[in-house]
Structure formats: C-alpha cells, structure tokens
Symmetry: C2
Subunit: 320 residues, 2 copies
C-alpha cells in the first residue's frame, strides 16, 4: 500500500471501522511492508486495553464462556475485541449449531469485533500475528481484548499466557485434564474455571486443582496471587459474574503491586524474541546458505565430517 | 581433556570399553571442546549400525519390548546398544519392580550397553546429545542401536523419527491413543505394535490404526511401504519375533530401493539444522546483545517502538 493508503488504514482502525480493522489484520497475517508501516504507525496508541487470555482443552466450553464474558463487558465498555486462535472455536468454523446461534448475537453487536486467526501459515509465526492483531484491537479502542486459544500445543498455550490475566477453562468430562496440566496450563493460569459444573466430577476436579495449587503455594509469599478455582455452567451463564469479578481482582492485584508493568515487559520481551528468531532465520537462509547446507549433508553422509563440524562451517561461511 | 586423553577415549570406545563409552557420552551431554574433538575423531567409524527408534505413550510397554528385542538381537550380534530418552524407562528410574528385574538381565550382559539420557539440560538440546550418543554406540560396534523415547512432546517424537526404522508402541488401556495420533506418531511409524494384546480393545485399536493407514495410503504408489500393525504381549515375549521380522523387512525395503541413503541424509540434515540454530543463538546473545534487548523492551513498553521494529534494530546492531 501507498503511504496515504496506510494512513487511511490507521485512521480507519482508530475510528473502529470494521473494514479497516479486518484489512489491517489480514495485512498483518500476510506480513509484508504494509503491515510493518501500519504497526509502526499505531504503536503509540497501544496499551490501554486489558488483555484477557482464555485457554483450555478442546470441548471445555471456552467459546461459550467468551460469549457471556463479552456480553457482560459490553455493558461497561464501548468496544470489546476478541481474537480466537482455536480451530474448535465457533468463529473459526468448528462449532455445534447451538454455539453458532449463541455467537451470532455477538457478531451482530456493532461494538464487538471478533477475529479468527488462521492456525497455520501466518508469516513469522502464529504468536507474532496474534499479538499484533491484539495490538490492532487495542489501538481501535477495544477494552478488554479477549484472546481465546485452544490449550493444546506449546505455542497456543504461550499465546494465552502473554495476557495480563489468563483464565484456564477445564471441564470434568473433557477427557484428559491431567494432559492439560502437563501442557503447562497450571503454570499460566491466574484464574481457573471448572465449567459444566452441573456434571459429575466437577467438584472433584476443582478440589484436585486446589490441592495442586496448594502444593505450589508452599514457600510463596503471603502477598502472592492465589488463583481462584471457580465453578461455572457457561451454557446457562452461571458463574460468569464471578469470573469477571475475579478478573477484576487480579487486575487490581497486578496494578497495586506494580506487577502489570512487569508482566507487560516480559510479554514484550517474548514477542521481540519471537520476531528476532524468525528474522535471523530469514536472513541466514540465503540461496547460497541452502546450497552450502546440501554440501555439508553430503560431507557428513560420506563420513568426511560430523554434524557439529558441518554446522560450524555453515555458520562461519555465513558471517564473513 | 588433552589430545592424548581424547585419543585414549576414542580407542576405548572403538574397543567397546564400557567406561570409555560412558565417559564419552557424559562429555557429549556437557558439550565442551572435548566432545567436539572426540566426535570429530570418531565420525569416520560411524554408519554401520542399524538405528531402531521405539516410541509411544507412557505405559504402552516400550521398555519391556526393548528388553526382549535386545535379547533377540544379541543372538545374532556381538554388541547391542540402547539409548533411552524416556523418564518412565526403567533405566532412567521410573519403573515398577517387575520391570527392573527384567532389565537387570540386560544390564549384566557384557555385550549390551544401555544409556539413559537426561531429559533436561543437555547442552545444545536433547536431540543433539541423543543422536551424538547413538553415533558413539555405532562407532563402538553396536548393531543395532535402539533409541527409546517417550512419545510425548515434539522433540521426543522427532528423535525417534530420525531412526532408520521407527516402531510405535501403543496399548489398548493407555488412556488416550487419539492423543498419541495427534502427537505425530502416526506419521513417523514404520511399524505399529499394539502391545498388551491380551486386554480388551486391542483388536479394535489395531483395526482403527489399519483404517487410518488405509486412508493415508490412498494415492500412494504400489511400491510404498505399508506399516504393518502387529499384536504383541511384550511382558510374555509374545509377538517379539514378528516385530524383529518386520524390522528386517523394512530395512530390506529401504536398502533395495535406495531409501536408506535418502533417510539418513534427511536425518543428517535435521541434525545439522538443530546444531546450527543452537550455535546461532549462542553467537547472537552476547552480553551486549542482551543489554540491547533490555533497552528495546523498554522502548516498546514506553511506546517509542513496536516489537518488529525493535527486533530489526537488534538484528542490525548485531551484524555490523
């Protein structure tokens, strides 16, 4: 895009024009120089939105909870944004009919902007594109911006973990909650929601989580945040108020102790490192370097070199 | 180590001296210049061993199967090696008493060398250290070298996938076989073993795997390898001969079609790339670069820059 088209895009986003926001995020996914110029232009307008991460295993009811949270937040906010990185999310096309109906109320609300991110193929990685998209909605005046990711796979879990407040949604009947704990969800959760609390095993699951948290808390200071474990039946909107209340308390906790600043700095650091690794790869893998790699593979195969020696030669060849 | 100490280490390994092999692998895990010199010295002696990867979910019975396979291979081989990257492996300390007893027969066999790799903290990554350890056992005259990894986590699955022949072990009662399929085990398997075949659900599991393989095979050439799905009760040694037979047929298949060469080249490529990424990181993150990163985090936090701009500045600063 030409400079004045980029300026128009920036102005459109700041004015919460839906077409401009959609177009900006598409540019971001593609990852060209337009996206660069655009992001560079909006960055002074970023930082007022609360960033709310929501993750958990597929089928735990994340999207349903998001629908109710967004509805509730809309009562007190002019604009709310949602970025969904979840192939099972109704926005992304993997939902039951009931979910779709529930979501359609959201998508027709002119104060709500929802965007699904493609799980594959985003230039420079999903995390980069997702967090840049969150910046766009932040600049567009959304507050909060909700980031929904499926809690399977390190990247997806990390994306939700970069939020100011991260909510982990589990449910008693979703197969393997142990698996969820292994996936690193325990570590990133500021708030636990045991959804489908009307089903068997919900109380037991909540107790298990509480017990694990108790073990972890040994040695933590008296001032540390203790993630609440909340019961909810998101399908009927039950327990949603308690989640909003807990998110508010967590935000206060961060703010009162100067921790929000710390958390945002560490998210920024993570984002810079992601981009850096990608750019290093791009710059390193010139056509010449690719050919040199082919040659080194051959040398190792013929026992003329070992893999580490080959790697070092490639590296030395690359930085004259 | 001094050059003559390294030479002594090399000679010890080539003579299958257990202490030398153990010491060499420890050096490799530590990752210093001794390891470099050692690996560079042994590489002409590498490449004769068959490399057999074994992976699957925890509790599927991998270690028990490995014990019987090693015993069987020992009948026809002077030396057999095992590298276990599996926190639930009896060599690594996570086993039931029964497993320990079964394994102890192996560990007292002077023709068998077993080594557990630490799952964390190997310098330059677990994959690098594991494959270098396999090279050591190859140079020491082991054939085959068995690589056992737990099929949870991308790294572990990839490590087993770099073998000449990869065996995926599943069992009907090990919770989530769907999870196993998601983890990429379907893609790397040359042979499936449905272990604990005397339990409920074994036949059904075998049928499911066969069905999935059938779907995948649509469009594959008539000459393509079709992974056999074998039933076994490893605990009683049942089905082990069929596994060895299938591994032999797979090796023949690769050799007769020139595919072994291709597969080893692609494993070598993967290994070089792993080391390269690690070395690039090491070289990039000088003290100066770390300080510069702190500065850029601060700039982004203060809205004086966006993350991509910050990353590019770091990159340009690093390559003068």
């Amino acid at each position: 895009l030409e400079p004045n088209a980029i300026e128009a895009l920036v102005n459109g986003v700041l004015a919460f024009e839906r077409r401009s926001i959609g177009k900006a995020i598409t540019e971001i996914e593609t990852g060209g120089e337009t996206a660069r110029a655009f992001l560079s232009a909006i960055h002074p307008r970023i930082g007022s939105a609360r960033r709310l991460g929501i993750t958990g295993p597929p089928g735990a009811g994340k999207s349903t909870l998001v629908a109710f949270l967004v509805k509730a937040y809309r009562g007190g906010s002019q604009r709310v944004g949602v970025v969904a990185v979840d192939p099972t999310s109704p926005y992304s096309g993997g939902a039951l009919l009931g979910d779709r109906v529930r979501m359609s109320a959201l998508t027709t609300d002119p104060g709500v902007f929802i965007r699904s991110m493609a799980s594959r193929g985003a230039f420079g990685g999903l995390a980069r594109a997702t967090w840049d998209a969150v910046d766009v909605l932040d600049a567009a005046g959304c507050d909060p911006v909700v980031i929904e990711t499926v809690g399977v796979g390190q990247t997806e879990v990390e994306i939700a973990g970069l939020a100011d407040t991260t909510i982990v949604v589990l449910s008693p009947e979703v197969g393997d909650n142990v698996q969820a704990m292994k996936a690193g969800l325990m570590e990133i959760a500021d708030i636990f929601v045991v959804n489908k609390a009307d089903r068997n095993g919900a109380e037991a699951l909540a107790r298990d989580i509480t017990a694990i948290l108790g073990l972890r808390d040994v040695g933590a200071g008296g001032d540390a945040w203790r993630p609440p474990v909340l019961l909810a039946v998101a399908q009927r909107g039950e327990g949603v108020d308690a989640v909003i209340d807990a998110a508010g308390r967590h935000a206060d906790h961060l703010r009162n102790r100067g921790l929000l600043e710390k958390r945002r700095r560490s998210a920024i650091r993570r984002r810079i490192l992601d981009i850096l690794e990608h750019e290093i790869r791009l710059r390193f893998w010139t056509e010449e370097a690719k050919r040199a790699l082919d040659g080194e593979v051959e040398r190792v195969y013929r026992k003329e070199a070992d893999p580490t020696g080959a790697a070092r030669r490639l590296l030395d060849g690359a930085s004259p």
